[in-house]
């Protein structure tokens, strides 16, 4: 198993508000899991906790990542071990070229794997190949990280980084939010082209549209800090037809009963 989340509870560090209330999830290598849920269910918190954002505090539970205790690691260590978070809002870093940023990141991860650092020339060659794969325009490399990028370009840039860093587990935190259909297809194609028996995905989203293109193996509904229903791809369409209400109601009824 690549990822095993057991009874994960977490709260907002600042005010102690509990968001995750006993979440369980198992992900095997090569699987694509979608996590859906209404606003406020804890979707983004879950992504942030997995990636190691310090705004949240884990109060209970365990997360095992590739045989190691993920919660013991800081954010950079998680990334080095093969966890990748695609951001809902990729961050702008003025003055740092995309190229330098990615070269620094790639070499950090290569260091972890015991591989030699790539110099500028080797990196150029490596990057070229990946750019063609992702249909990236060359000038994006020379520009500052995400500065002046459109929403779609930012997301594409994040997926491009994913392709470069070749992670074991990709967490997509509402990558589809605010994307038009063309940009959405680019993201979906990127993900699909990176699918691999040794790479797993957790796709966190509010809407089914992205999932129509990605076709996840498993779909989970997150509500009130817990996964309340799991199923296959068909669950996406059930949600599409009926919305979250019926699932939530039956969950509440179960609790009451």
């Amino acid at each position: 198993m690549l990822l095993n989340v057991e009874n994960l509870k977490a709260e907002v560090a600042e005010d102690g508000k509990q968001i995750l209330k006993g979440l369980n999830l198992q992900v095997n290598p090569g699987e694509v899991h979608a996590i859906m849920g209404p606003n406020g269910a804890g979707k983004s918190t879950f992504s942030s906790v997995l990636a190691g954002r310090e705004d949240y505090e884990v109060t209970e539970g365990t997360v095992d990542f590739d045989g190691e205790d993920l919660l013991e690691m800081d954010a950079e260590e998680r990334a080095r071990k093969g966890l990748f978070l695609a951001f809902q809002y990729p961050v702008e870093i003025p003055g740092v070229s995309n190229k330098l940023f990615m070269q620094t990141a790639l070499n950090a991860i290569r260091e972890e794997k015991g591989l030699p650092a790539l110099d500028m020339f080797d990196f150029d060659e490596y990057v070229q190949e990946k750019m063609e794969l992702m249909g990236m325009r060359k000038d994006m490399l020379e520009r500052s990280v995400n500065v002046g990028f459109s929403g779609g370009e930012k997301k594409r840039n994040d997926i491009f980084q994913m392709a470069l860093l070749e992670p074991k587990l990709c967490i997509m935190d509402e990558t589809d939010s605010g994307l038009d259909i063309d940009a959405l297809k680019v993201v979906a194609n990127g993900v699909n082209s990176l699918r691999d028996p040794n790479r797993s995905f957790i796709v966190v989203t509010h809407y089914q549209r992205l999932l129509d293109y990605i076709k996840p193996d498993f779909v989970h509904v997150l509500y009130d800090g817990k996964i309340v229903k799991s199923g296959g791809f068909e669950l996406v369409h059930e949600l599409e037809d009926q919305g979250y209400d019926s699932i939530i109601q039956s969950h509440e009824a179960q609790l009451a009963g």
Partner: protein
């Protein structure tokens, strides 16, 4: 300027009074050596003025954030006998590897050995040093300009003749080697019509006790002249640096200056740029990095005196530990200076809770058809940016460095000469590592 006798004397602290007397003493001994009566008379005027006006105090608005207390406590000396040691490796580390017309001063004294042969300069360029004359003095009320007038012995004159573009930069290196040494620098730059000059100035100290640099630059840019200037102040953190630059620009001339303030306990770099001819263009930028107890003060006074002139400014400070940064910028637009475009920006990154930035951008506009703006922003490093880097595997420490460096080096985007840009980048990056 006000006549000496009409100035009402200001009460000075005993420490300030002692410092004034010390420098008057130095000035008197210079006067004893010179035959030039007009020069002596001017020096005497400056002495009297300084005695009456006194040294700047914290209650003077322009000196509120820049303390001279430590400076006053050291009696700096000029014309110390001999030179301290100039370690070749130390020297090599600060000099650029690209070709320049290099001139070197040690403790304020010209070093023939370390300088290029002035006979080998390209035609149209002259660099010469001569005894100062009364005409070279500034005659202002500014304490450090008065000290300059009292203590300058030589002035260096750089002249580029009409229609000549000098390709290689002229590089002036000022090295202090002896404890408590004071160098009073006087530089006169003339770029004639349609001529071009690139000027690199560096001040460094190889002494382990405080030294002081006090410089005045006067520059005339004739019509269509272009001067690009890079000033690197990389003294030790117990040193003092004062520099006052006066630039006069005629029509369609371009002045592009970058001050890189890295060292000194107290440093103050002041530009006064007079845009006297139409369509003149001035860019003034700062890269400042402070740590420890340093105070880095950069200021500009941009006088738009003719129509259709542009001025742009970007002043960036990164302040760590207990350091302080000071920026003061004035854009003045005279009544007739229509279609002025003046932009001034000051951005500061504070790496520590104990670092402090004081900034005062000002506009004074008397024309009615102008485009002027000023802005300033000070803040701490953006944690979201750091997390984004960490989420890509970059160590937190490296992430902070990457972001800081990018912030600080932004003014280098304006440096068109790649070799100079790379060299400046290295100089600054070394400090951030």
């Amino acid at each position: 300027m006000a006549a000496v006798n009409s100035i009402k004397p200001r009460k000075q602290s005993p420490v300030a009074q002692k410092a004034i007397e010390h420098y008057i003493g130095l000035s008197q001994s210079l006067n004893a050596k010179t035959q030039n009566q007009m020069l002596s008379a001017k020096r005497l005027d400056a002495q009297k003025k300084l005695q009456a006006l006194g040294l700047p105090m914290r209650r003077d608005e322009d000196w509120q954030y820049t303390s001279l207390n430590h400076w006053m406590q050291t009696a700096f000396e000029q014309n110390l006998p001999g030179w301290g040691k100039v370690n070749p490796d130390q020297l090599k580390a600060i000099l650029p590897i690209f070709g320049t017309h290099r001139f070197v001063w040690i403790d304020g004294v010209f070093s023939q050995d370390l300088s290029c042969d002035s006979a080998s300069l390209p035609s149209g360029l002259t660099v010469e040093s001569a005894e100062i004359t009364n005409a070279d003095l500034v005659d202002s009320n500014h304490a450090f300009e008065l000290l300059h007038d009292m203590l300058a012995e030589n002035r260096t004159k750089i002249r580029v003749q009409k229609n000549v573009a000098i390709e290689k930069p002229v590089e002036l290196v000022y090295i202090q080697t002896q404890p408590k040494s004071l160098a009073t620098l006087s530089l006169d730059v003339q770029v004639e019509e349609n001529a071009q000059l690139t000027l690199i100035q560096q001040v460094v100290s190889f002494a382990d006790e405080p030294v002081c640099i006090n410089g005045v630059l006067q520059m005339e840019l004739a019509a269509q002249a272009i001067c690009k200037q890079y000033v690197v102040q990389d003294l030790n953190t117990n040193d003092f640096y004062f520099n006052n630059q006066h630039v006069h620009q005629q029509a369609s001339s371009v002045f592009d200056t970058l001050y890189v303030g890295l060292g000194a306990e107290v440093s103050r770099h002041q530009n006064t740029v007079n845009l006297c001819g139409e369509y003149a263009d001035a860019s003034q930028n700062t890269i400042a990095f402070g740590k420890g107890e340093q105070t880095i003060d950069s200021r500009t006074d941009t006088q738009h005196l003719a129509p259709h002139c542009n001025s742009q400014q970007l002043h960036k400070f990164v302040l760590d530990e207990q350091s302080r940064g000071v920026f003061n910028g004035m854009i003045y637009v005279a009544k007739g200076a229509q279609k002025t475009d003046g932009q001034m920006d000051n951005k500061n990154l504070l790496l520590s809770n104990n670092a402090k930035m004081d900034t005062k951008p000002q506009l004074e506009i008397y024309a009615d058809d102008v485009k002027c703006s000023h802005g300033c922003a000070s803040g701490q490093i953006d944690e979201n940016q750091v997390f984004y880097c960490q989420a890509r595997g970059i160590h937190q420490h490296d992430a902070v460095q990457l972001i800081t460096k990018a912030f600080l080096l932004e003014p280098l985007d304006n440096v068109s000469n790649e070799a100079i840009r790379d060299w400046l980048m290295q100089r600054v990056s070394k400090l951030l590592a």
